[in-house]
């Protein structure tokens, strides 16, 4: 199967652990903003004062944001990327989901007996940008944890279903690898629970109790909120103090923030296309009715 080179092998590990895991989605501001959708534009604050774009778009469509690297920004390339993405979205719907939601993905697979394969799992990570955005699903099958990375705009994906729409306390749930299997076990015939429109996306505040040491990564260093563990005194504990040291100047470093975030004016430009696209699809649906 010939795919464009952008869908080729990328062994750069997508499972980096960030330096900080402040959960943006669990913040109160995000909860207020995430009350859905175009219908409630009046209730959702705009992204920039005076614009038509609701602020919830930056949580619902994070894949429309470009890489916030000043050296790599290219407005024309971004625009072309966005057009490609919308073209793909007009064929296959990519629903709203968050890390912590349970998804089912159907792909066409030449090796499968009926040429399609379906995988169900909890989304433990969502990353990348624009056409290269991806998600990682995790499930425990027959006692063995399996994870599959899906490129959202891969043309071999046939269908993405959201079986359970919810959020968690963290935006990356990689620590489920060291959690008991029941936290990431989902049956393949799981039924979808529809999310009532207009309601806020529920925040699942379950706190996972991790297995005893050794872990695959030192999860305790990164400020995750969604797990606990048994604290065992050891020599390693002493070394934590160094790692936990906050760098005080960082909160005053405006340039650093600027380098990490995309300015709101640019975000507005990025989301304008999806707004137009959504309005178009709404009209189409009305006509069908």
């Amino acid at each position: 199967m010939a795919l464009p080179s952008r869908f080729g092998i990328r062994l750069i590990s997508p499972f980096f652990v960030p330096h900080r895991c402040d959960s943006i989605l669990a913040s109160k501001a995000a909860q207020a903003i995430l009350r859905k959708d175009i219908k409630d534009v009046e209730h959702v604050p705009p992204l920039v004062p005076g614009s038509e774009i609701p602020a919830s778009y930056r949580y619902i469509y994070p894949d429309f944001l470009a890489l916030p690297d000043i050296k790599k920004r290219n407005k024309l390339a971004e625009k072309l990327n966005r057009m490609d993405m919308l073209r793909r979205r007009s064929v296959m719907e990519i629903p709203e989901f968050y890390p912590g939601s349970v998804l089912a993905v159907t792909t066409s697979d030449p090796n499968a007996p009926n040429k399609t394969s379906r995988f169900v799992g909890i989304c433990i990570c969502r990353g990348g940008n624009q056409l290269l955005s991806f998600m990682i699903l995790r499930n425990v099958i027959d006692g063995l944890g399996c994870e599959i990375k899906y490129d959202l705009y891969n043309p071999t994906i046939r269908k993405i279903e959201v079986l359970k729409l919810e959020r968690r306390l963290d935006e990356q749930l990689f620590y489920l690898r060291d959690a008991p299997p029941e936290h990431s076990t989902f049956p393949f015939d799981m039924e979808a629970t529809p999310h009532p429109e207009g309601l806020a996306v529920p925040l699942n505040e379950t706190v996972v109790h991790l297995n005893p040491f050794p872990w695959k990564t030192r999860w305790e260093l990164y400020g995750f909120r969604g797990f606990t563990y048994d604290f065992l005194p050891s020599r390693k504990v002493v070394r934590k103090a160094k790692v936990l040291a906050p760098l005080e100047w960082e909160r005053f470093d405006l340039m650093k923030k600027y380098r990490v975030q995309i300015p709101l004016e640019d975000q507005e430009e990025m989301f304008k296309d999806i707004l137009v696209h959504n309005c178009g699809t709404f009209e189409k649906k009305r006509r069908r009715r």
């Binding site: 080729g8 062994l11 499972f15 990375k149 899906y150 690898r177 604290f231 160094k242």
Partner: protein
């Protein structure tokens, strides 16, 4: 403010354990004079013995926790492991062969000492030679921890299916799911795919 051992004992640890330290411990004066034990270690074990062992790191103030980051001077590496299957990698045998089950029960996993490819880093569907319970056996890699490209599953363990010298599997059943991608491989690996129960 200094972010060192002192800060840890005066600020971080009390919050971890939800206790207030005695004045002696705060000042960092050694409690025990045992030469082999370091002061800090002794202190922690003392503190922890006085309370139930469960503690949350997240009891730290959330605002503060969000500003925590890795100091560049940390004395250990935090880079991700590559999880390559190389020589002397331990593998989990996932078929129901007597040899594999015996090895698992004894806690002596199969140890790879040769990989039949040009890179000598094992991937999905590669044939390996391994030492298991004092015997030399060959097998196929049917699951890897190492990151794969999209649509190909990664597993929590490195999985191996043992084969005989004639290429037929030792067991009669594979107990864990197997990547669908292996069905595109040609050769003797088809024999072990016929005993698989589930594909992912």
């Amino acid at each position: 403010m200094k972010w060192g051992k002192e800060f840890y004992f005066s600020t971080v640890l009390p919050r971890l354990n939800r206790i207030t330290l005695p004045q002696q411990a705060k000042s960092g004066i050694p409690i025990s004079s045992h030469p082999r034990q370091s002061t800090s270690f002794n202190m922690i074990s003392r503190i922890c013995s006085a309370r139930p062992p469960t503690a949350l790191l997240h009891n730290l103030l959330p605002a503060e926790a969000s500003f925590f980051s890795l100091a560049s001077s940390s004395s250990f590496s935090t880079s991700a492991t590559l999880f390559k299957i190389r020589k002397l990698t331990r593998m989990r045998v996932v078929d129901n062969s007597a040899l594999g089950q015996q090895a698992t029960a004894a806690g002596k996993p199969a140890k790879v000492f040769h990989i039949y490819n040009k890179t000598s880093v094992g991937g999905l569907g590669d044939k390996v030679m391994c030492a298991i319970m004092g015997q030399k056996k060959r097998g196929y890699i049917v699951g890897v921890v190492r990151r794969q490209r999209d649509l190909i599953p990664t597993m929590d363990t490195n999985n191996l299916v043992l084969i005989n010298d004639d290429g037929s599997p030792l067991g009669t059943r594979i107990t864990v799911p197997i990547p669908m991608m292996l069905r595109s491989k040609r050769g003797d690996i088809a024999k072990i795919l016929s005993i698989a129960t589930r594909f992912v």
